[in-house]
Amino acid sequence: MTTEKGSASAADEPMVVDDFVALTYHDRLPPETVRFADGLIAGRIIGQRCPQCRRVYVGGKGFCAMCVVVMGPESEIDVADVGVVTGYTIITPVRYYGQTKTEPFVYASVLLDGASSVLGGQEITGIAIDAVREGLRVRAVWKPPEARNYEGHSTRGWGSLAGGIVGFEWTGEPDVPREQYKEFAV
């Protein structure tokens, strides 16, 4: 704690005290996240297919939130590491404690072939950021096998790809017509 400025009497000069608190949380990853993480290390992207509605979730959480039914190991299938950008924005990073980004970056949603749920917050590389567009055909850029790890996984949110994949790059193929992914836009 550091005392920045103090005054007990002058009403126009409030006392300001910085009180920095550090709390540590140790998350235990659930089994489906561990299997997903191990899949990334092995070069696979594992999805979970709901036994009821047949939707395929990438980074499955062990249940389908739409049907509210459990999805176990038997529901798991591999999905492709290629897909389409369904929506994006370009973000100018805001400064805050812990932020390491300094340059504008692309924040894109990617729908992998065979998946029903989009992966939000993906970086698109190998193309100028002002050339990123909806409908862009992209392929995962894998880390070298020896560099893959358990990075980014947590018990919250949809699964992170960071343990195996650094981002997505343009495949060079023609854009996907909007009609083909419109249902999943953004």
Binding site: M1, L23, D27, R28, P30, G62, F63, A65, V68
Partner: protein, 361 residues
């Protein structure tokens, strides 16, 4: 005052464990699905949903948004959330169902204590200007409270140990409670053994303090008419109320719980425990149980915490709702015709909720 006695027609709770691999949404899912199955209604019959959870406990902003995925929020639902124990979510749902335009409400509360250290976390719940910088942990505050109770001359350390021994024996028979050592006896010898343990915060020993746990609980509420359609043994909420005390422990008599007494009065509990056969009290220390018994006027004939209570399992943010479930269970199965459940919010009994449950008149 509202006229309708809303009924509890279904409930579910996960086993409380010190640490689970399941995520909080998965815990919620299990509890919610059990509650709906017991009520024997489809989730789309629910007219209002309310949950209780805490971002700080779970370690991220908006934890209730993830938990929502367990509630079946598609198609969209009418829903709210309290940053409190699920017992207060039940209160909000009870208010909502009074309007008469819905038949059923779903309530759930959840929390995972295992990822963090309560001694470091809970000081963040205190006044940030005057108390938090002191680093006061919950056990220390409870120790001060237990000391105040001893100094009042109404209880002894042996009374504390007797509460712990009785709770542990009860908890050993509860499959949802944690399995704790020394769980099977409440003889003088058992109590002597507990008293031989070292202090954690004098005058409290480890068995005097609730073990934080991971868990979730869910309840389905129904209008009286719907409840009678669904079950021959509806459990009615005859009264429910909650009251707050000042935050600063220094301005309160920690050996008493006037807010519990007031909430009980407003909930229509009645004098001398109001004839309840069972009381489920959210006491996070053995001393607190004694304080709550006195505030509610519970006599020696009342079965207190037959589930084992929070001293066996404290799935924070669900524990209060679990008390209501355990009390309702004992009304439903005929153990008692009338029961009282209590829940707490904040530290050393700052904010207390009292719920009076009965079977058919």
């Amino acid at each position: 005052m509202p006229a309708d006695d809303i009924a509890i027609v279904g409930w579910g709770q996960t086993p409380s464990v010190a640490s689970t691999d399941l995520t909080e949404p998965q815990l919620c899912l299990a509890a919610v699905n059990d509650a709906l199955a017991m009520a024997n209604i489809d989730r789309h019959a629910i007219g209002f949903t309310c949950s209780g959870s805490c971002d700080y406990l779970s370690g991220g902003p908006f934890v209730f948004i993830s938990n929502l995925e367990a509630a079946g929020a598609w198609p969209p639902i009418s829903e709210s959330h309290v940053e409190m124990d699920g017992a207060w979510a039940l209160y909000e749902a009870w208010v909502r169902i009074q309007h008469g335009d819905i038949d059923f409400a779903l309530v759930y509360g959840s929390g995972k204590s295992s990822p963090s250290d309560p001694a470091l976390l809970f000081p963040q719940q205190l006044d940030p200007y005057y108390l938090e910088p002191l680093g006061l942990d919950p056990a220390s505050l409870m120790g001060m409270q237990a000391r105040a109770l001893l100094d009042s001359g109404t209880a002894t350390e042996r009374d504390f140990a007797a509460v712990a021994a009785r709770s542990r024996r009860a908890g050993a028979a509860n499959p949802k409670a944690q399995t704790l050592p020394n769980g099977a006896g409440e003889s003088d010898l058992d109590i002597d053994a507990l008293l031989a343990a070292p202090y954690v915060r004098a005058p409290l020993r480890a068995h005097d303090l609730a073990p934080a746990a991971d868990g979730a609980a869910a309840v389905v509420l129904a209008t009286p008419a719907k409840a009678r359609e669904l079950t021959d043994h509806p459990v009615f909420i005859r009264g429910i109320d909650h009251r707050l005390e000042p935050h600063q422990p220094g301005v309160r008599d920690l050996a008493d719980s006037p807010s519990t007494r007031l909430a009980a009065q407003k909930a229509g509990l009645g004098a001398n425990g109001g004839g309840v056969g069972v009381a489920e009290l959210y006491a996070t220390s053995s001393a607190q149980e004694l304080i709550l018994r006195a505030a509610l006027g519970l006599g020696p004939d009342v079965s207190v915490n037959p589930s084992g209570g929070a001293l066996c399992s404290d799935p924070v943010m669900a524990t209060g709702l679990v008390r209501i479930i355990e009390a309702a269970q004992r009304v439903a199965d005929g153990t008692t015709r009338r029961a009282v459940a209590h829940a707490v919010n904040g530290q050393v009994l700052q904010h207390n909720l009292v719920c009076v449950l009965e079977g058919e008149r």
